[in-house]
């Protein structure tokens, strides 16, 4: 009986620990979309965001050699090739961390979502928001990160 209880206890601990390390990095691109030809972007601040994630996304796009601005308005004032929207989810585990980041690229005229990327990282696999932004945009644009194989 004691041995059975120990086994159950070990199983529970393993399940809990495994639940803390879970990552997903995915993207879904409309086959007809030409991402290489996109040069200018506007990142629209998400309504709930108080952490300035739109600034991080615009900064990363600029670092990738694109031209990106950001703001609170849903639409840009000047024409752009794509509008970027996002959804960030946070969780608390000792400190707050970004659990999930979804980034969408949309047609400025129709709002059609032609590309989307998602990073999901549970507590023990957490990364800084800047790094989550970088990995999602790299996933969308098909950029292989340093040290990774294609």
């Amino acid at each position: 009986m004691k041995r059975l209880l120990n086994l159950i206890q070990a199983g529970l601990i393993l399940a809990l620990a495994a639940g803390c390390v879970n990552t997903e990095l995915t993207s879904d691109i409309d086959p007809s979309a030409d991402l290489v030809g996109l040069e200018t972007f506007y990142v629209a601040k998400a309504g709930h965001d108080e952490r300035g994630i739109e600034v991080l996304i615009a900064a990363e796009l600029n670092a990738m050699g694109k031209t990106a601005t950001s703001g609170v308005a849903p639409k840009p004032t000047a024409p752009v090739d794509a509008v970027v929207t996002y959804e960030d989810k946070w969780m608390w585990d000792i400190t707050m961390y970004m659990l999930e980041l979804n980034i969408d690229l949309r047609d400025p005229e129709t709002n059609y979502k032609f590309a989307t990327g998602r990073s999901y990282r549970t507590s023990l696999a957490r990364k800084k928001p800047e790094e989550m932004v970088t990995e999602v945009l790299s996933e969308i644009f098909g950029i292989v990160a340093e040290g990774e194989e294609e």
Binding site: T26, S32, D107, E109, T110, Y112, F114
Partner: protein, 210 residues
């Protein structure tokens, strides 16, 4: 010993069913953005052509499976209590409205071409959007798998199909498997993507251009 059984039994029940029982998703919450802008009147119909619904194995509000701890399946249904195609029609109607069209819903009971021709003739509208759903269900255990088979047609009031686009497959959808509300959002997002891609076809876009 009896009290131990009383403690253990709920855990066994929970392990068997988990959070798998009574899940509902809301496709009306889908925020579909279509790759087109236009104007004018459109008739729209979404036809349920799913074999498991037509043969009575599942109800029209069935939208997928949620599996319990031992892979035991439980039905997932629409949050509205309406049929899946009604919810899809509502979301599609809003999307086309946002794209500038004036939309009228058509009632078409079957994917039979005579039924479609008769309904569009009766509508009198020059262009009609007909979405035939031959398969649409999600299946969640550790991940969400989407099974889909969709045919989008633009049909004239004479019953002529002037454009069509077909999409069929089975794929793992990122973001599923965490909780019922998250799964509902993930399933809706998959619907948004598939419908957008169906419309993003040169033939369909040309047929809907003014």
């Amino acid at each position: 010993m009896k009290s131990l059984q009383l403690v253990v039994l709920p855990f066994v029940f929970a392990a068997l069913t988990g959070c798998a029982v009574g899940n509902q998703y809301d496709y009306r919450a889908a925020s579909v953005s279509l790759p087109l802008a236009g104007s004018g009147e459109l008739g729209i119909a979404v036809i349920d052509n799913r074999s498991y619904v037509l043969d009575g194995d599942k109800e029209a509000e069935f939208i997928g499976l949620q599996r319990g701890g031992f892979n035991n399946p439980f039905d997932v249904t629409t949050a509205s209590g309406n049929s899946l195609t009604q919810d899809m029609s509502e979301a599609l109607g809003i999307a086309l409205g946002n794209s500038g069209y004036t939309v009228t819903g058509l009632q078409i009971a079957s994917a039979d071409s005579a039924a479609i021709t008769s309904a569009v003739a009766e509508s009198g509208m020059a262009r009609n959007i007909v979405l035939t759903v031959t398969d649409w269900k999600t299946d969640i255990y550790m991940n969400m798998t989407l099974h889909f088979d969709l045919l989008l047609e633009v049909i004239t009031k004479q019953g002529d199909t002037i454009a069509s686009n077909h999409m069929q497959g089975e794929e793992t959808v990122s973001g599923g498997g965490i909780g019922a509300s998250q799964n509902s959002r993930t399933a809706s997002a998959a619907f948004e993507t598939k419908i957008g891609r169906l419309f993003n076809d040169p033939e369909i876009l040309a047929a809907l251009a003014n």
